[in-house]
């Protein structure tokens, strides 16, 4: 079967909204429900965060949600259990995102195998560097048809962007600025030069812009330069939903990003 990420980018070239949330947050057993609600509300893809005790690339919001998820009892093993029947209800591509150590302890091959079994299409592991991936893990990922999504940043040289493009299979995660996650940005803060430079390179791999995207203006702005954008911290904040139900909170937030007013 074709990888759902490839199918998505074949069918839709622009304004793809991808949402990140941390598995096990706000409550331990919300994972499958949140994914279903996100698909219904209009998300094009979902990144499910594997919580880690030491998330060094994340700002305070995802640090908090990861900490809470671990306190709630989340683990990679439990996450796979929660996702066992996810493909009965959900059709959009699903990606797991996290740090390498939990995957290493689980066993990289076992991890990829399990991803394939439950219907995970790709993985984002920011601290698995390109050369380690190529030397030790690429064949395993390919064997199980799981895309390893690589990142580029404003500091990444053109030469390296091209290398990353040549190795990439699903999409490239364009980090919007040199920062950890959750630094809310204004549209005028975006590094237009960097976005334009990447767009002009005409990469073979689709791109999604993430980090600092929080609302409709920042989402639409990012979408001018890539196939879509990724929202994480701002969505997690929206899950502190007060008087709303979880379902309402998700639906309101996604509508606000895609179709405000």
């Amino acid at each position: 079967m074709d990888n759902r990420i490839n199918t998505l980018f074949r069918q839709k070239k622009e304004n793809i909204l991808t949402i990140y949330f941390t598995a096990g947050y706000p409550s331990l057993d919300d994972t499958a429900f949140i994914i279903e609600q996100l698909e219904q509300a209009g998300a094009g893809m979902v990144e499910v965060g594997i919580p880690f005790s030491d998330p060094t690339a994340d700002g305070s919001v995802i640090q908090q949600s990861s900490h809470q998820a671990l306190e709630n009892g989340m683990s990679l093993e439990l996450l796979f259990k929660q996702l066992e029947n996810i493909r009965d209800k959900v059709n959009i591509p699903l990606v797991l995102m996290g740090y390498f150590n939990p995957v290493l302890q689980y066993g990289v091959e076992e991890f990829c195998k399990k991803c394939h079994e439950v219907g995970i299409d790709g993985v984002i592991l920011p601290d698995l560097p390109l050369h380690e991936y190529q030397e030790n893990y690429q064949l395993i990922f390919e064997k199980y048809n799981v895309h390893n999504v690589l990142l580029i940043t404003p500091q990444t040289s053109v030469e390296r962007v091209k290398l990353i493009d040549s190795v990439s299979t699903g999409f490239i995660y364009m980090v919007s600025s040199s920062s950890t996650t959750g630094k809310n940005q204004k549209v005028e803060d975006f590094q237009k030069g960097y976005f334009e430079k990447i767009k002009e390179l005409g990469l073979k791999t689709p791109t999604l812009i993430g980090f600092g995207i929080s609302n409709n203006p920042t989402f639409m702005n990012a979408c001018q330069y890539a196939n879509g954008a990724i929202i994480g911290s701002a969505f997690i904040k929206a899950l502190q939903y007060g008087d709303l139900t979880l379902e309402q909170a998700i639906s309101n937030y996604i509508k606000g990003v895609i179709n405000p007013g």
């Binding site: 060094t56 150590n101 698995l128 560097p129 990444t156 630094k183």
Partner: protein, 393 residues
Amino acid sequence: MTYQVDKKGYYGEFGGAWIPEMMYANIEELKVKYLGIIHSYTFQNEFTQLLKDYVGRPSPLYYATRLSEHYGSHIYLKREDLNHTGSHKLNNTIGQILMAQKLGKTRIIAETGAGQHGLATATVCALKGLKCVVYMGALDVGRQAPNVKKMKMLGAEVIPVHSGNKTLKDATNEAMRDWINNPVDTHYIIGSVVGPHPYPDMVAIFQSVISKEMKSQLKAQTSNELPTRILACVGGGSNAAGAFYHYLDDQAVELIGVEAAGKGIDTHETAATLTVGSPGVLHASKTMLMQNADGQITEPYSISAGLDYPGIGPMHAHLFKSGRAKYLSATDEEVLQAALLLTQKEGIIPALESAHALAALNQLTLLPEETTVVNLSGRGDKDMQTYLDHFGY
């Protein structure tokens, strides 16, 4: 077998640079340039001059007469405690501040546990007029108050870190986040032989002056540059790396690292990583870690803030795995008694960290003709409150 780092940044199976792409440009620049810079004439000139005139090197190798009598064996102390700022940490920060200048960086960040590395970093930043930000676990800010005040007087900004168990690991996380957010103007002065390649190698090179001096001092004092054994405490492992460095290929010399057992290696309150840990990836390095089955890092504990770390430098993981070095551990209680013994036998109040190395003397069979060098990595001023609370003076 080689005990040095290989071309890929590994010590055997340990090490590497497990960095997110956000740190790639900085680490790559450092990796490409560090050896050339270190071996350049201008760098060596300035580095050795500062070690001599500013740090106060060479640090003495002191024959501890009464401690030797006590143990019935020859014991020497390598007096890193006499360095300016009170520990071996300044050897590394002098090297790295010169490195930062050569790289054109204008802002310095650092993590610190006991505050010794933070203090050494704040000191070299004052020396060179560079902006300095030190991340320190909120718990450590409390238990190492004198060092915090010194850092502030030196002009550094000390940022308390409230995540995790508010100690060294969490301070390191926050420093890494800072570097991700400030990739252009900032150099991260890592305080130990930890983190991504080339840091473990670079820091070990800067600290290797310890064993270089030890060799010539032993030769002068005993006519044999090889002792029976060398003892050093290990958290991340920088003073041990420096004390072992020039002896790694001298197989006759027994190298012994001493980890912090905390309340005991069979309790959950320990920082003895090699004893209770397993291989994993943390702070951009593949090394031995304290972790649970899910790969989550577990919280370490030690009475000494400088050893309160759930990982260890990849070089030590390799020396442990290959059997070249042996690693023991000492409990808080053993450490306090060892500190008291040195104080009253030799008139030297050691840092709690260094007292771990001293405590291991009780765990070894020391023969009369043998020579043991203990790397006395730091002095105890910063730990006075802990000592006073414990001994009730």
